[in-house]
């Protein structure tokens, strides 16, 4: 796998998804372990994972502060934050990772079919622990929004 090409596809996909559907302008860069997002308590974060298969298999993980996930969900659904339920928040960030991953894979290889799994919520402590592992096969990106940070990681297996 061309790591740089995948990284660029991920960056483009993240920007496109968050700006088109969530009106969240942001800058995407390589994540560093000392970034504020990765210093947060796991209790204040929500995390989602999504496995995929195709010419190569892998997993994408998305980490977002719970407060930001709530406000993104309210904006996405066009509802007041008070009306938003936990299930809506989880559904929104699952969909967000689904879109990021699907778009990135199609940008990376337009002629290849990748089968995406169903996004699942995951323990944020485990998500943070694994964020910088498998360095050769792992692409860890940090998204700087105006007041918050989001993390997206993709690890490619076989």
């Amino acid at each position: 796998m061309d790591r740089e090409a995948m990284k660029e596809a991920m960056k483009t996909s993240i920007s496109e998804v968050l700006e088109t559907m969530f009106f969240l302008p942001l800058e995407v860069s390589e994540a560093e372990p000392d970034s504020p997002l990765f210093q947060m308590s796991p209790e204040k974060l929500k995390s989602v994972s999504l496995k995929f298969q195709g010419r190569f298999a892998g997993e994408a993980v998305f980490v977002i502060p719970t407060d930001l996930a709530g406000s993104l969900t309210a904006d996405f659904m066009g509802q007041d934050p008070e009306q938003i339920e936990d299930g809506d928040v989880d559904g929104t960030i699952k969909e967000l990772l689904n879109m990021i991953c699907g778009k990135a894979l199609s940008l990376f290889e337009a002629k290849t079919i990748f089968k995406l799994g169903i996004p699942e919520m995951m323990n944020s402590g485990e998500a943070l622990e694994g964020f910088f592992s498998h360095t050769e096969r792992n692409i860890a990106l940090l998204c700087d929004a105006i007041a918050d940070q989001l993390g997206v990681r993709i690890v490619v297996g076989s």
């Binding site: 998804v17 559907m21 559904g91 929104t92 337009a110 079919i113």
Partner: protein, 142 residues
């Protein structure tokens, strides 16, 4: 004229967004039905009159392609236009949706403008022109 619409997606927030995108595009939605997968969608289709189906592809139990296949095998359901809205972006996959009889394909992420363009082709412009290109893109923000 109002049309009845069924939105099939396992994400409840995404169903809300699709419904909203169709409405703000100027199309007159009569009855709105929602299903979380293809199996639920078929149950609704067999008991209610639906003019348009907008479906995701990747769903548990029965995906969008399987739903499309079942609909095309059913004499009554085969005539209902189906628009696939999915993260799947490979050319091969899109060709497969169209070969199975999809009326249109929209890749996520999408804008209301993307929805409007496809629905204009399938349903025709709205009576007041609001669903046509006369409406500016600025009017079509989510």
């Amino acid at each position: 004229m109002a049309f009845n619409m069924l939105v099939v997606d396992d994400s409840s927030p995404m169903r809300t967004v699709i419904r909203k995108a169709v409405t703000i595009s100027g199309f007159n939605v009569g009855e709105y039905y929602a299903a979380a997968n293809g199996r639920e969608a078929l149950e609704i289709l067999r008991s209610h009159w639906v003019d348009l189906v907008i479906t995701d592809y990747n769903m548990p139990e029965m995906n969008g392609l399987e739903l499309l296949t079942h609909m095309k095998e059913d004499e009554l359901l085969a005539v209902i236009p189906v628009v696939v809205v999915s993260t799947e972006g490979s050319e091969q996959m899109i060709d497969e949706f169209m070969a199975k009889g999809a009326a249109g394909y929209i890749q996520k992420p999408f804008t209301p403008e993307n929805i409007r363009e496809i629905l204009n082709k399938i349903l025709g412009d709205t009576e007041d022109g609001q669903g046509s290109d006369e409406r500016s893109d600025e009017d079509l923000d989510f």
